[in-house]
Amino acid sequence: MPLVLEIISPEKLLLSREVDMVVVPGTEGDIGVLPGHSKLITGLRGGLVDIYENNTITDRFFVPGGFAEVTESYCAVLADGIIRQSDLDPAKAAEGVTAAKAAYDATDMNNAEAYRLATDRLISAQAMVDSISPQRADKA
């Protein structure tokens, strides 16, 4: 039974294809999804979505955060946008971190909501930089 991976942004369906396995960056850690996974809803942090076919990573996409819904037959990633890992631009990513840091510093620490948003943004920006040259083992 194949696993259908859907990456969806609010504006359109970005990607929909059958894969052997997909690893998504959950808020509590990376989650590997194989066909037949138990039903799961999770938040996503910024990071890489790795698509595995025949035990190798055939595609990696950066997502800035969002949600994922997993069932036995499909994995739906709700993200604002995706960038193919090879298309990530180090200069832009670094710029993003600087901007996010500035916003973070300017945030009122007593406003829980704003603080959470600023933190999320910083983490996501940092994740983009880290995703350019991921340290974890690429090949299974």
């Binding site: 859907e6 942004s9 609010p10 359109k12 509590e28 809803i41 999770t42 938040g43 949600f67 709700l78």
Partner: protein, 292 residues
Amino acid sequence: MPSLKTLRNRINSVKSTQKITSAMKMVAAAKLRRAQAQAEASRPYAKRMGEMMGALAAAEAANPNAPALLVGNGRDKTHLLLAITADRGLAGAFNGNISKHVRLQVQALEAQGKTVKIFTLGRKGNDSLRRDLDSKIIGTKNFVGKKTIDFADAEAIAQTIIGLFRDESFDVCTLVFNRFHSVMTQTVTETPLIPAAAPTANDNAAAEQNYEVEPDDGTLLERLLPRNLAVQIYAALLENSAGFYASQMTAMDSATRNAGDMIKKLSLTYNRARQANITKELIEIISGAEAV
């Protein structure tokens, strides 16, 4: 009886009007196709979001600490109507229907002793409502000069609304917009935004499938609810723009047809007057010749 010259002028002016309306109809049709495609493309996200919301909301609704965005803040004294209209007119009763509905709603709610506030999206609705309900309008936003609406716009609006909710500017928020059924029909629709719609039997069925949730229901809902609000506003904005172009297309189509009818009628009068003139001249010549 108007003179031949004025008739000719009128026929020409109606002809140019017809040219304009038929061009506008064509433009509206092209834009309608684009707007419909955009609305279509946004559906998968809204669908999945709805499923997740349904599963989480059913589990969380009974929780006394459930987020206020989901279950409300326990009061229903102040109502906020979020009215979505187009930025431009010439679309039949499209914008008028929304304003009318909002006015009726304001009366109905005030009769129940509630306070009503209005937030308008779109220039036309704001122009029409501020004439008599200016004191109730607490905010407005329009998209004049923007070609397409993107999600970021909807998200910004959602943030504003949530900010107002946190400041306790209102207790209940309802979205009023034109739902796009077909090119011929758009109906004024109300959707509750805050508190989010109570889970229906359908949602419960989905929840029974028991999702595992990470990090946990509450934390995830905190993140999901503002998102869901933005998605709903985005969907309504897209329906609005598709409905607007459909309505404009229909309006321009009938305007073109009316102009055609008018030209026919005017040409008939013009030809009659012309013939009468000729006949008159002939009679004058003949009776002149007879007199000699």
